[in-house]
Amino acid sequence: MIRTLIAALTVLLTVSAAQAHEEKTGDLVISHPWTRATASTQKVGAVFMKIENHGNSADRLIGASSPDAETVEVHGHFMDGDVMRMRRVDGVVVPAEGTATLAPGGYHIMLIGLKALLLEETQIELTLEFEHAGKIEIDAIVEAPSYQGPGKGMGSMKTGTHGMNK
Protein backbone atom coordinates (compact mmCIF):
# COMPACT_ATOMS: atom_id res chain seq x y z
CA MET A 1 0.00 0.00 0.00
CA ILE A 2 2.69 2.46 1.06
CA ARG A 3 4.74 1.34 -1.92
CA THR A 4 1.82 2.06 -4.25
CA LEU A 5 1.34 5.45 -2.64
CA ILE A 6 5.02 6.27 -3.00
CA ALA A 7 4.95 5.10 -6.61
CA ALA A 8 1.90 7.26 -7.33
CA LEU A 9 3.55 10.24 -5.65
CA THR A 10 6.72 9.67 -7.66
CA VAL A 11 4.73 9.62 -10.89
CA LEU A 12 2.94 12.84 -9.91
CA LEU A 13 6.20 14.53 -8.97
CA THR A 14 7.91 13.30 -12.14
CA VAL A 15 5.04 14.55 -14.28
CA SER A 16 4.99 17.98 -12.66
CA ALA A 17 8.78 18.17 -12.80
CA ALA A 18 8.73 17.27 -16.48
CA GLN A 19 6.09 19.92 -17.14
CA ALA A 20 7.95 22.58 -15.23
CA HIS A 21 11.24 21.48 -16.70
CA GLU A 22 10.94 22.68 -20.22
CA GLU A 23 12.91 25.09 -22.35
CA LYS A 24 11.32 26.80 -25.32
CA THR A 25 13.16 28.74 -27.99
CA GLY A 26 11.45 29.68 -31.23
CA ASP A 27 9.87 26.54 -32.61
CA LEU A 28 11.85 24.14 -30.45
CA VAL A 29 10.74 22.81 -27.09
CA ILE A 30 13.24 20.79 -25.04
CA SER A 31 11.57 18.71 -22.36
CA HIS A 32 12.97 16.93 -19.32
CA PRO A 33 16.70 16.86 -20.12
CA TRP A 34 18.29 14.40 -17.70
CA THR A 35 21.51 12.61 -16.92
CA ARG A 36 22.60 10.07 -14.32
CA ALA A 37 24.58 10.48 -11.12
CA THR A 38 28.16 9.25 -11.47
CA ALA A 39 30.86 7.65 -9.34
CA SER A 40 34.02 9.65 -8.66
CA THR A 41 35.97 7.34 -10.97
CA GLN A 42 33.53 7.85 -13.85
CA LYS A 43 34.65 10.52 -16.26
CA VAL A 44 31.76 10.33 -18.71
CA GLY A 45 28.04 10.93 -18.67
CA ALA A 46 25.16 10.97 -21.13
CA VAL A 47 22.35 13.50 -21.36
CA PHE A 48 18.92 12.52 -22.69
CA MET A 49 15.89 14.64 -23.61
CA LYS A 50 12.99 15.13 -25.94
CA ILE A 51 13.15 17.84 -28.59
CA GLU A 52 9.88 18.95 -30.16
CA ASN A 53 9.78 21.03 -33.29
CA HIS A 54 6.59 23.06 -33.77
CA GLY A 55 7.90 24.74 -36.90
CA ASN A 56 7.36 23.66 -40.48
CA SER A 57 11.00 23.20 -41.35
CA ALA A 58 13.33 20.55 -39.99
CA ASP A 59 16.24 21.45 -37.72
CA ARG A 60 19.28 19.53 -36.56
CA LEU A 61 21.05 19.25 -33.23
CA ILE A 62 24.68 19.62 -34.27
CA GLY A 63 26.57 20.02 -31.03
CA ALA A 64 26.63 20.99 -27.38
CA SER A 65 28.93 22.33 -24.71
CA SER A 66 28.93 22.38 -20.92
CA PRO A 67 31.05 24.07 -18.27
CA ASP A 68 30.91 20.74 -16.40
CA ALA A 69 32.74 18.68 -19.04
CA GLU A 70 35.91 19.12 -21.07
CA THR A 71 34.35 17.83 -24.26
CA VAL A 72 30.73 17.36 -25.30
CA GLU A 73 29.73 15.33 -28.35
CA VAL A 74 26.54 14.02 -29.91
CA HIS A 75 26.62 10.23 -29.90
CA GLY A 76 24.41 7.40 -31.01
CA HIS A 77 24.28 3.66 -30.42
CA PHE A 78 24.01 1.43 -33.42
CA MET A 79 23.03 -2.22 -33.12
CA ASP A 80 24.99 -4.31 -35.57
CA GLY A 81 23.44 -7.74 -35.11
CA ASP A 82 23.82 -8.10 -31.35
CA VAL A 83 26.83 -5.79 -31.11
CA MET A 84 26.38 -2.31 -29.67
CA ARG A 85 28.56 0.28 -31.31
CA MET A 86 28.63 3.77 -29.86
CA ARG A 87 29.72 6.41 -32.36
CA ARG A 88 29.84 10.16 -32.66
CA VAL A 89 27.23 11.49 -35.08
CA ASP A 90 27.13 14.66 -37.18
CA GLY A 91 23.78 15.57 -35.77
CA VAL A 92 20.29 14.49 -34.83
CA VAL A 93 17.49 15.62 -37.14
CA VAL A 94 14.42 17.17 -35.51
CA PRO A 95 11.76 16.78 -38.20
CA ALA A 96 9.31 19.59 -39.02
CA GLU A 97 6.32 19.32 -36.69
CA GLY A 98 7.99 16.28 -35.21
CA THR A 99 10.08 15.06 -32.30
CA ALA A 100 13.61 13.81 -31.78
CA THR A 101 14.05 11.66 -28.69
CA LEU A 102 17.43 11.18 -27.10
CA ALA A 103 17.04 8.06 -24.95
CA PRO A 104 19.15 5.14 -23.65
CA GLY A 105 20.13 2.80 -26.46
CA GLY A 106 19.68 5.55 -29.06
CA TYR A 107 21.10 9.06 -29.26
CA HIS A 108 22.62 10.97 -26.37
CA ILE A 109 24.80 13.95 -25.64
CA MET A 110 28.06 12.57 -24.33
CA LEU A 111 29.87 14.45 -21.60
CA ILE A 112 33.57 13.56 -21.73
CA GLY A 113 36.01 14.52 -19.00
CA LEU A 114 33.55 15.39 -16.25
CA LYS A 115 35.02 18.09 -14.03
CA ALA A 116 33.10 17.04 -10.95
CA LEU A 117 30.91 14.27 -9.62
CA LEU A 118 27.34 14.42 -10.93
CA LEU A 119 25.25 14.37 -7.78
CA GLU A 120 21.67 13.20 -7.73
CA GLU A 121 19.04 15.95 -7.60
CA THR A 122 21.44 18.64 -8.81
CA GLN A 123 21.51 20.15 -12.29
CA ILE A 124 24.14 20.66 -14.94
CA GLU A 125 24.28 23.45 -17.48
CA LEU A 126 24.30 22.59 -21.15
CA THR A 127 24.24 24.69 -24.30
CA LEU A 128 22.72 22.92 -27.27
CA GLU A 129 23.55 24.03 -30.78
CA PHE A 130 21.06 23.68 -33.61
CA GLU A 131 21.69 24.25 -37.29
CA HIS A 132 18.86 26.79 -37.62
CA ALA A 133 17.65 27.68 -34.12
CA GLY A 134 21.18 28.40 -32.96
CA LYS A 135 22.16 28.02 -29.33
CA ILE A 136 19.75 27.01 -26.57
CA GLU A 137 20.77 26.91 -22.92
CA ILE A 138 19.25 24.21 -20.77
CA ASP A 139 19.70 22.63 -17.33
CA ALA A 140 19.71 18.85 -17.17
CA ILE A 141 18.52 17.16 -13.99
CA VAL A 142 20.84 14.60 -12.45
CA GLU A 143 18.77 11.48 -11.77
CA ALA A 144 19.63 8.22 -9.95
CA PRO A 145 22.38 6.07 -11.58
CA SER A 146 19.85 3.43 -12.62
CA TYR A 147 17.14 5.84 -13.79
CA GLN A 148 15.71 4.61 -17.10
CA GLY A 149 13.90 7.69 -18.38
CA PRO A 150 10.69 9.64 -17.81
CA GLY A 151 7.75 7.33 -17.28
CA LYS A 152 10.08 4.37 -16.81
CA GLY A 153 11.42 5.25 -13.39
CA MET A 154 14.10 2.97 -12.06
CA GLY A 155 12.26 -0.30 -12.01
CA SER A 156 11.58 0.05 -8.32
CA MET A 157 11.95 2.48 -5.45
CA LYS A 158 14.52 0.30 -3.75
CA THR A 159 16.90 0.42 -6.68
CA GLY A 160 16.86 4.18 -6.57
CA THR A 161 18.18 4.24 -3.06
CA HIS A 162 21.23 2.13 -3.85
CA GLY A 163 23.01 5.22 -5.05
CA MET A 164 22.68 6.70 -1.62
CA ASN A 165 23.98 3.67 0.22
CA LYS A 166 27.55 4.82 -0.14
Binding site: D82, M84, G155, T159, H162
Partner: protein
Amino acid sequence: MRYKLHIGVVLLVVAVFGFGAWLNLRQSEPAEGTSVGGMVLGVDIGGPFELTDQTGATFTDRDLAGEYALIYFGYTYCPDVCPTELGQMAAAIDELGADGARVRPVMITIDPQRDTPKVLAEYVPLFHERLVGLTGTEAEIRDVAKAYRVFFRKFEDPSYTDYLMDHTSFVYLLAPNGKVAGMFRYGTPPEDIAAAIRQHMRSNS
Protein backbone atom coordinates in the same frame (compact mmCIF):
# COMPACT_ATOMS: atom_id res chain seq x y z
CA MET B 1 -2.73 -39.91 -62.76
CA ARG B 2 -3.96 -36.93 -60.73
CA TYR B 3 -4.83 -39.34 -57.91
CA LYS B 4 -1.26 -40.71 -57.90
CA LEU B 5 0.13 -37.18 -57.79
CA HIS B 6 -1.99 -36.46 -54.71
CA ILE B 7 -0.69 -39.56 -52.97
CA GLY B 8 2.83 -38.46 -53.85
CA VAL B 9 2.27 -35.04 -52.29
CA VAL B 10 0.76 -36.57 -49.14
CA LEU B 11 3.71 -38.97 -48.79
CA LEU B 12 6.16 -36.10 -49.22
CA VAL B 13 4.39 -34.01 -46.57
CA VAL B 14 4.35 -36.98 -44.16
CA ALA B 15 8.05 -37.59 -44.81
CA VAL B 16 8.99 -33.95 -44.17
CA PHE B 17 6.92 -33.74 -40.97
CA GLY B 18 8.18 -37.12 -39.84
CA PHE B 19 11.78 -36.05 -40.31
CA GLY B 20 11.07 -32.84 -38.41
CA ALA B 21 9.48 -34.76 -35.55
CA TRP B 22 12.43 -37.18 -35.47
CA LEU B 23 14.83 -34.25 -35.31
CA ASN B 24 12.80 -32.74 -32.47
CA LEU B 25 12.85 -36.01 -30.54
CA ARG B 26 16.60 -36.24 -30.94
CA GLN B 27 17.02 -32.83 -29.30
CA SER B 28 15.89 -33.06 -25.71
CA GLU B 29 17.58 -29.69 -25.02
CA PRO B 30 15.78 -26.65 -26.40
CA ALA B 31 17.19 -25.50 -29.71
CA GLU B 32 19.72 -22.72 -29.46
CA GLY B 33 18.12 -19.33 -29.69
CA THR B 34 14.70 -20.55 -28.55
CA SER B 35 13.19 -17.71 -26.60
CA VAL B 36 10.76 -18.30 -23.75
CA GLY B 37 9.38 -15.34 -21.83
CA GLY B 38 12.24 -13.09 -22.90
CA MET B 39 14.94 -15.62 -22.00
CA VAL B 40 17.02 -17.17 -24.76
CA LEU B 41 17.50 -20.86 -23.89
CA GLY B 42 19.75 -23.67 -24.95
CA VAL B 43 22.95 -21.68 -25.11
CA ASP B 44 25.91 -23.92 -24.41
CA ILE B 45 28.20 -21.28 -22.97
CA GLY B 46 29.96 -20.34 -19.77
CA GLY B 47 32.53 -22.21 -17.72
CA PRO B 48 35.18 -21.62 -15.10
CA PHE B 49 36.85 -18.24 -14.67
CA GLU B 50 39.27 -16.63 -12.28
CA LEU B 51 39.07 -12.86 -11.99
CA THR B 52 39.60 -10.04 -9.47
CA ASP B 53 36.72 -8.32 -7.69
CA GLN B 54 36.34 -4.65 -6.73
CA THR B 55 38.10 -5.23 -3.42
CA GLY B 56 41.14 -6.67 -5.18
CA ALA B 57 40.39 -10.25 -4.05
CA THR B 58 40.37 -13.27 -6.36
CA PHE B 59 36.86 -14.21 -7.46
CA THR B 60 36.08 -17.38 -9.37
CA ASP B 61 32.99 -19.13 -10.72
CA ARG B 62 33.10 -21.29 -7.56
CA ASP B 63 32.25 -18.20 -5.50
CA LEU B 64 28.87 -18.24 -7.23
CA ALA B 65 28.18 -21.97 -6.70
CA GLY B 66 24.86 -22.70 -5.03
CA GLU B 67 23.24 -19.41 -5.91
CA TYR B 68 21.82 -17.74 -8.97
CA ALA B 69 23.76 -14.99 -10.69
CA LEU B 70 22.91 -12.40 -13.30
CA ILE B 71 26.06 -11.61 -15.23
CA TYR B 72 26.59 -8.58 -17.44
CA PHE B 73 29.65 -7.78 -19.53
CA GLY B 74 30.14 -4.03 -19.85
CA TYR B 75 32.44 -1.15 -18.96
CA THR B 76 32.26 1.92 -16.77
CA TYR B 77 33.19 4.37 -19.54
CA CYS B 78 29.87 3.47 -21.19
CA PRO B 79 27.39 6.13 -20.07
CA ASP B 80 24.28 4.83 -21.76
CA VAL B 81 23.73 1.12 -22.45
CA CYS B 82 25.68 -0.31 -19.48
CA PRO B 83 23.99 1.72 -16.71
CA THR B 84 20.67 0.91 -18.36
CA GLU B 85 21.32 -2.84 -18.27
CA LEU B 86 22.77 -2.77 -14.75
CA GLY B 87 19.71 -0.81 -13.63
CA GLN B 88 17.45 -3.42 -15.24
CA MET B 89 19.35 -6.22 -13.50
CA ALA B 90 18.98 -4.51 -10.11
CA ALA B 91 15.29 -3.87 -10.78
CA ALA B 92 14.77 -7.55 -11.69
CA ILE B 93 16.35 -8.61 -8.38
CA ASP B 94 14.17 -6.15 -6.44
CA GLU B 95 11.16 -7.44 -8.37
CA LEU B 96 11.86 -10.94 -6.99
CA GLY B 97 11.31 -9.74 -3.42
CA ALA B 98 12.71 -12.17 -0.86
CA ASP B 99 13.89 -14.53 -3.63
CA GLY B 100 16.08 -11.70 -4.90
CA ALA B 101 18.52 -12.50 -2.08
CA ARG B 102 19.27 -15.78 -3.92
CA VAL B 103 20.46 -13.91 -7.01
CA ARG B 104 23.86 -12.23 -7.16
CA PRO B 105 24.33 -9.45 -9.70
CA VAL B 106 27.75 -9.52 -11.38
CA MET B 107 29.38 -7.16 -13.84
CA ILE B 108 32.45 -8.33 -15.73
CA THR B 109 34.36 -5.53 -17.43
CA ILE B 110 35.45 -5.87 -21.04
CA ASP B 111 37.67 -2.82 -20.55
CA PRO B 112 40.25 -3.94 -17.94
CA GLN B 113 42.62 -1.15 -19.03
CA ARG B 114 40.32 1.47 -17.51
CA ASP B 115 38.33 -0.66 -15.07
CA THR B 116 40.73 -1.42 -12.26
CA PRO B 117 39.32 -2.78 -8.94
CA LYS B 118 39.45 0.79 -7.58
CA VAL B 119 37.33 2.14 -10.46
CA LEU B 120 34.84 -0.72 -10.06
CA ALA B 121 34.67 -0.22 -6.28
CA GLU B 122 33.32 3.30 -6.81
CA TYR B 123 31.00 2.25 -9.62
CA VAL B 124 29.21 -0.96 -8.59
CA PRO B 125 27.45 0.31 -5.42
CA LEU B 126 25.63 2.87 -7.57
CA PHE B 127 23.50 0.07 -8.96
CA HIS B 128 23.09 -2.56 -6.30
CA GLU B 129 24.55 -3.07 -2.85
CA ARG B 130 25.51 -6.66 -3.72
CA LEU B 131 26.74 -6.01 -7.27
CA VAL B 132 30.13 -7.67 -7.77
CA GLY B 133 32.47 -5.91 -10.21
CA LEU B 134 35.06 -8.16 -11.85
CA THR B 135 38.19 -7.30 -13.78
CA GLY B 136 41.36 -9.14 -14.72
CA THR B 137 44.30 -9.20 -17.07
CA GLU B 138 43.63 -8.73 -20.78
CA ALA B 139 44.06 -12.50 -21.20
CA GLU B 140 41.70 -13.40 -18.34
CA ILE B 141 39.00 -11.10 -19.70
CA ARG B 142 39.50 -12.45 -23.22
CA ASP B 143 39.08 -16.01 -21.91
CA VAL B 144 35.89 -15.39 -19.92
CA ALA B 145 34.38 -13.38 -22.79
CA LYS B 146 35.20 -16.22 -25.14
CA ALA B 147 33.57 -18.76 -22.82
CA TYR B 148 30.39 -16.65 -22.76
CA ARG B 149 30.68 -15.87 -26.47
CA VAL B 150 30.80 -12.17 -25.73
CA PHE B 151 32.11 -10.09 -28.58
CA PHE B 152 34.09 -6.99 -27.66
CA ARG B 153 36.54 -4.82 -29.51
CA LYS B 154 38.27 -1.55 -28.81
CA PHE B 155 37.23 1.19 -31.20
CA GLU B 156 39.95 3.78 -31.66
CA ASP B 157 39.89 6.73 -33.99
CA PRO B 158 42.24 9.72 -33.93
CA SER B 159 39.28 12.10 -34.22
CA TYR B 160 37.72 10.68 -31.04
CA THR B 161 38.56 12.07 -27.61
CA ASP B 162 39.01 8.57 -26.20
CA TYR B 163 38.61 4.96 -27.20
CA LEU B 164 35.22 3.22 -26.96
CA MET B 165 34.28 -0.43 -26.72
CA ASP B 166 32.01 -2.22 -29.16
CA HIS B 167 30.33 -5.10 -27.36
CA THR B 168 27.40 -7.48 -27.23
CA SER B 169 24.94 -6.53 -24.49
CA PHE B 170 23.31 -9.59 -22.93
CA VAL B 171 22.46 -10.47 -19.35
CA TYR B 172 23.26 -14.11 -18.51
CA LEU B 173 21.43 -16.16 -15.93
CA LEU B 174 23.73 -18.56 -14.12
CA ALA B 175 21.92 -21.34 -12.24
CA PRO B 176 23.11 -22.64 -8.82
CA ASN B 177 24.72 -25.64 -10.60
CA GLY B 178 27.07 -23.22 -12.37
CA LYS B 179 25.45 -23.69 -15.78
CA VAL B 180 24.12 -20.82 -17.88
CA ALA B 181 20.34 -21.28 -17.84
CA GLY B 182 19.72 -18.65 -20.48
CA MET B 183 20.37 -15.12 -21.55
CA PHE B 184 18.41 -11.92 -22.01
CA ARG B 185 18.75 -9.54 -24.91
CA TYR B 186 19.32 -5.81 -24.42
CA GLY B 187 16.10 -4.11 -23.40
CA THR B 188 14.38 -7.14 -21.82
CA PRO B 189 12.09 -5.60 -19.15
CA PRO B 190 13.07 -6.38 -15.52
CA GLU B 191 9.66 -8.01 -14.91
CA ASP B 192 10.41 -10.53 -17.70
CA ILE B 193 13.86 -11.27 -16.29
CA ALA B 194 12.34 -11.74 -12.80
CA ALA B 195 9.57 -13.99 -14.20
CA ALA B 196 12.11 -16.22 -15.99
CA ILE B 197 14.20 -16.54 -12.81
CA ARG B 198 11.12 -17.31 -10.71
CA GLN B 199 10.06 -19.99 -13.19
CA HIS B 200 13.55 -21.53 -13.10
CA MET B 201 13.51 -21.50 -9.29
CA ARG B 202 10.09 -23.20 -9.22
CA SER B 203 10.96 -25.93 -11.71
CA ASN B 204 14.25 -26.71 -9.96
CA SER B 205 13.21 -26.60 -6.32
